[in-house]
């Protein structure tokens, strides 16, 4: 198989897409947003519950789409849980740089290690939007999706 494809469809990614974590609606969500890519029909809904300290107390998603969009949403919910908003913002920024093949120096070492599996997407510019859909939806939920 060609290396770029092997990088893109790593076992970790396929596992996340087949067995997404934190999947389903979240009762009592404080924020919610729907993300939609009209070009390909990928859909994702992100549910968010902010704690009193402003941290992400719980986050879930629902949706359907390609392996990349679903894996990315699953990983995102894994990683954002428990973070402060500022930390989440930093993570998102780093992630967006990473999938576009740009300098992601802002990421902590741990985060970079976790997100390493998403690095292969930068070789597939047409698929970057699949990877970023859930993250943009998270941001929308936070900024405009108070329930």
């Amino acid at each position: 198989m060609d290396n770029a494809l092997r990088e893109l469809y790593q076992e970790v990614i396929l596992d996340h897409s087949r067995h997404p974590r934190h999947y389903g609606a979240l009762e009592g969500a404080s924020h919610k947003a729907e993300g939609y890519n009209p070009l390909c029909g990928d859909k994702v809904t992100v549910y968010l519950k902010l704690g009193e300290d402003g941290r992400v107390a719980d986050i879930r998603f629902e949706g359907n789409g390609c392996a990349i969009s679903q894996a990315s949403a699953s990983m995102m919910t894994d990683m954002l849980n428990g973070r402060t908003q500022a930390d989440a913002e930093k993570l998102m920024e780093g992630f967006l740089h990473l999938v576009k093949g740009e300098d992601a120096a802002g990421l902590s070492e741990d985060d970079r290690e976790t997100l390493d599996v998403m690095g292969g997407i930068s070789e597939f510019p047409m698929r970057v939007k699949c990877a970023t859909l859930a993250w943009h939806t998270y941001k929308n939920a936070l900024e405009e999706g108070a329930t």
Partner: protein, 424 residues
Amino acid sequence: MNAMGQIPSTSPAAGACGFDVRAARADFEILWRKVYGKPLVYLDSGASAQKPRVVLDTMQNFAVSEYANVHRGVHFLSAAATDHYEAARRTVQKFLNAAHEDEIVFTKGGTEAINLVSYSYMAPKIQPGDEIVLTVMEHHSNIVPWHFLRERQGAVLKWVDVRDDGSLDIEALDAAITPKTKLVAVTHMSNVLGTVTPLKEIIARAHAKGVPVLADGCQGAVHEIVDVQALDIDFYAITGHKLYGPTGIGALYAKRAHLKGMRPFNGGGEMIREVARDAITYADPPARFEAGTPPIIESVGLAAALDYMMGLDRVAVAAHEHDLLAYAREQVRAFNWLKVIGDAPGKGAILSFEAEGMHAHDIATILDREGVAVRAGHHCVQPLMERFCTASTTRASFALYNTRVDVDALIAGLAKARGILGNG
């Protein structure tokens, strides 16, 4: 074409059925290139077809030696360009077998042709509650212009379903036509299912109730021989870039009697007879609907593309495309994880499918790396996707220049995609 339902058993060897695919491939240089080091296998002609060298040369030669604006200058080049532009109109007339050249209106594509009918013909006739009959397999370009009339004027859209195999139930369509129906707008060939609709029968049924018919021929005109007089159709829309011609040009065929009574579409130069400060009169059709400088170079390219097509044995080309479809259909039977969407008898050369546990975009990405270009997504037919309970499908569409080798590459790529994405 009655033979459409029969799958020819001939091999695709050169000349075996009156069409030499190897010679045709030589006309399309882009097919010789590689992508990611693999030979290009272009199975996305349903989205846009590649152009033969003669189309590109004709456009270039015209631009180099005879180009000017049309219908206005008195100078030599303007007259030459006008001759070419009007000759292109006659080529479209011939391609569709229209009775009169003034029944051909140049547009920027199929979408604009349908919008023109919606705005100039239909809108002034619509009262709240009037109905427009559509099928669920229409492309958005044959849905949205009618939604405009629903939103703005209270028209009612009546949707005719397709059967599970993708075929159209003519009785269901007939039943949907009521005394309130103002138009039947139907595709000639579905861009996803490949279904070829029984236009002649549809038109006969609609006309029996006094209802005109518009056909979206963007796919149909590529694969079927269209005779608008034999069909007795009211409106037929085509687009250049799917007909092996350039982008930016299409055409609307409309019966003279309809065009005569239609209000102008865009306003501007070319479409007027006289403009005063507080009065205006409009040009006769087709100029009335061709405001502004038209796609002149593109018209010449479109004519070259249609001449190219008419220079081939089109029945043999259709047989060749059907052979590819039948071959591909047979090959994918071995994949029990793959479900074909659309198996209507006599369907055109389009193969759409879903794969269990594998999303269309992931399949398309893996195929792409094998050099195989397919379309993945909702194909601008969301009501149809809803009908078949899917968000997206993968589509391989075959053109005159494809071969069984292309199908083999598709099949090998699909097996590979299965290997990578598996069923976990």
